[in-house]
Amino acid sequence: MSETITLEVLRYNPETDSEPHFQSFVVPYHEDWVVLDALNHVKDHIDSTLSYRWSCHMAVCGSCGLIINGEPKLGCHAFVRDYRGGVIKIEPLDHFPIERDLVIVMDDFIEKLSSVKPYVIVKEEKPVSEGEYIQTPAQLKVFKQYTQCINCMLCYAACPQYAMNEGFVGPAALALAHRYNMDSRDCGKDERAEVVASNEGIWECTFVGACSEVCPKHVDPAAAIQQTKIAASLDWFKALLLPGGKK
């Protein structure tokens, strides 16, 4: 018989189960399979009731965030070969309610993302007929890294602060606010500060840095939060020390 590998998958059907439980599936081992391929094999050939989210299979749509052997990872970017000879334990993302099996309820994340006003805010609208804003490669580089977030929520699943306080705005949303704050076309920093610099915002972060470690796109939300803290402190000093100094 050809080689196989065992998946231990968390199952939970809110209509019939009082508690989540694990179910084992034995699937063929393929050197180039990702964990998502293994789940698709289960869905197509063993148990079609298994529920999980996925779409692009190329680590850009952000759908398939999972806890794989204890670590937050994208199912389409975790290779089965890295677990060869062992068992692959697959759970839904931590710190979110389970909707069904590996599907989490992501309302809170969507709300947090929206709360930071993640769009360009200008003082005066520039008509499209006047052409583009000039933005040099150096100005682009200042925020480009923070545009790379795919909203996979691995950082929320890794964040100890979000685990303790679900009011915390959290890594991805704060990094997104920072992305717009640093964009040369934007003037919305003060409006965003209401949420970003609130009690549930940047000051809640204790700089553990787990978010940046698990980020599959190297966004480094922890750095975004630290940079925002420094900028907010400077604003506070300016406001305190200079009459009318706050811009």
Binding site: W54, S55, V60
Partner: protein
């Protein structure tokens, strides 16, 4: 059954749907807009587009150039009034994206940068490194958040349109977290659900691209236009079908066969030098490049792998710095998924199903023949893409026609009352009944994955890059059989909560109907044009087939295929020339 009353209902929240929602919200802030999607907006497949979006912005270019490239690229099947409007509007839409914060790559002086793309005479493709679709989608999604009149219904799967006396009055959907069915009773409806690449086994398309919106419109009596035209992208990774952007050739990448030979010079695309050179060799159009691969394969000059034959895409000469700046995702994807670092090794690639040129029959106003129903993006066929879309026109198209659909659906909603609530309720009950029959069925003998595989295989073997009467007839026969057997599909999952077994069954039903429109349209087009190549009819036939095909749903029977004139304004059909004479 719940009823949500709204002014405009939009199905699909990818690039076209989001752009439509913003346009509708801006045209009248008092309108209620329901943005309905089976996935959260940022999961939509716009996210996977890489290379860029075309729009004339530089002084060395002209709208006429973009027009001519697009019409030639489409093998004269594009409607030229629509192409003209498209090329005129694309730069404004791309600038609007810039104002909304899209992180376009820049020239040293801070102006937007452009890169060359296949079949384009001059570099005019705006790009955000090689994640253009990702950045456009997130920019649109984030921008949409500031409009309070856009109410999102994320993870609602739409099953059918509500129609009263030939007018669209809404759409029925399943709320995935509860399983409850909801009627969106709307004054106008926009479909923006993307393409249907998952009908084929080997595709760049994500799991969501199952042609649901096309099938909804088709079943409601709206024709599907030019469905025989399916684009194979020449450079997908073997095994997964992951897209390696045309931008890699735009930046100077070359394609070689097993002998290290730039084989495209043998297919009217040469001479190979000087390189890079626009509209030649690796910067030829996608249909010609994918067809050239097929011929190389016939000649035994491709490389055999466990995942089928490949050729090599070589970008090593660009150097690490340029690859990291312009093509970081290509490097990441090739390294992760096939263990090839393109800085040091050529990337194995093969043609892969990428795009449906055809779609819901729409006009230049994004309107379908059904009053109150609009469509935009890959699910629609205006047609600007004709028989072969040029790379980077589709990201511009979702903006141009998404915005038009949004504005026109808003205007329709202001000018017309809601349809009959009684009829909407009755139709929703009937829709619910159809879903419940599938959900509760017992004794079914067919599986979703089994039927899907047979459909995939039949489409690849019979309706691929090259087709014949015989292969297409075989495919049509298999599809008829599969559609009959679909009535015996057995679900295992009886849960109301996030039931993907049910959704996959519904998606399969959509794909089978759309596949049948593709195969029958292809069977009757007895000529070769653009992406539709018939070995038994190798020439283009403008006398008979300078026509759009229109597939009309036939219920359990086959679709009826009719034809409509192509709009020709200023470019008379001529020979498509690439390579030496064109450059």
């Amino acid at each position: 059954m719940d009823v949500i009353v709204t002014d405009v209902a939009i199905v699909g929240a990818g690039g076209a749907g989001l752009r439509a929602a913003i346009a509708a919200a801006q045209s009248d802030p008092s309108l209620n807009i329901a943005l309905i999607s089976k996935v959260y907006p940022m999961r939509s497949h716009t996210v996977a587009a890489e290379g860029g979006a075309a729009g004339v912005i530089k002084d060395n270019d002209s709208l006429d150039n973009h027009f001519n490239d697009t019409v030639t690229g489409g093998d004269w099947l594009s409607d030229q009034d629509a192409v003209e409007m498209f090329v005129n509007t694309a730069p404004k839409e791309l600038l609007q994206m810039e104002h909304w914060g899209c992180p376009w790559s820049r020239e040293p002086d801070g102006k937007v940068a452009v890169r060359p793309f296949g079949g384009m005479k001059i570099e005019r493709t705006w790009y955000a490194a090689d994640k253009t679709g990702f950045h456009m989608l997130h920019t649109l999604f984030q921008t949409s958040i500031q409009f309070p009149s856009i109410k999102r219904f994320d993870e609602y799967y739409s099953t059918e349109l509500l129609v009263e006396d030939g007018r669209c009055i809404g759409v029925v959907a399943i709320e995935m977290r509860s399983g409850r069915m909801v009627a969106f009773h709307a004054k106008s409806v926009i479909i923006a659900t993307g393409g249907a690449g998952r009908i084929f086994p080997f595709t760049t398309n994500g799991a969501v691209k199952t042609g649901d919106g096309m099938a909804m419109a088709y079943r409601a009596g709206v024709p599907l236009k030019d469905m025989e035209f399916i684009q194979y992208h020449p450079t997908g990774l073997p095994g997964t079908g992951i897209l390696i952007t045309e931008g890699s050739r735009g930046e100077g990448g070359i394609l070689v066969n097993k002998d290290g030979y730039r084989y495209l010079q043998d297919y009217n695309l040469g001479p190979p030098d000087p390189w890079p050179r626009k509209k030649a060799m690796e910067l030829g159009p996608r249909d010609r490049l994918s067809q050239a691969f097929w011929h190389e394969q016939q000649k035994g000059r491709t490389i055999k792998t466990a995942y089928g034959d490949v050729v090599y895409l070589d970008i090593r000469h660009l150097g690490e710095a340029k690859i990291n700046e312009r093509l970081p995702m290509v490097r990441e994807l090739a390294s992760s998924y096939i263990g090839v670092d393109p800085v040091y090794e050529p990337i194995p690639v093969r043609p892969v199903v990428h795009y449906t040129m055809g779609g819901i029959h729409t006009d230049i106003n994004a309107a379908t023949p059904m009053p109150g129903l609009y469509a935009a993006g890959e699910c629609a066929c205006v047609s600007i893409n004709g028989a072969n879309r040029l790379g980077s026109n589709s990201l511009a198209e979702i903006l141009v026609f998404g915005a038009i659909a949004g504005r026109n659906a808003a205007a329709f909603a202001k000018a017309n009352p809601l349809g009959s609530p009684t009829l909407a309720a009755q139709a929703t009950d009937a829709a619910q009944g159809r879903v419940r029959e599938l959900f509760l069925r017992t004794g079914g003998t067919e599986t979703i994955s089994g039927l899907r595989k047979e459909m995939n295989d039949a489409m690849e073997s019979g309706a691929g890059i090259y087709r014949t009467e015989q292969t297409l007839q075989d495919t049509c026969r298999v599809l008829a059989d599969l559609r009959a057997r679909f009535g015996k599909v057995q679900l295992e999952d009886r849960s109301n909560v996030f039931n993907t077994d049910l959704l996959q069954a519904l998606e399969l039903g959509s794909m089978l109907d759309v596949a049948q429109a593709m195969a029958h349209s292809a069977l009757l087009r007895k000529e070769s044009r653009g992406s539709h190549q018939r070995l038994d009819f190798p020439a283009r036939d403008d006398v008979t087939f300078l026509q759009h095909s229109l597939a009309t749903f036939g219920g359990a029977a086959e679709p009826a295929i009719s034809y409509a004139d192509v709009v020709i304004t200023k470019s008379k059909p001529a020979e498509r020339v690439y390579g030496g004479p064109a450059t």
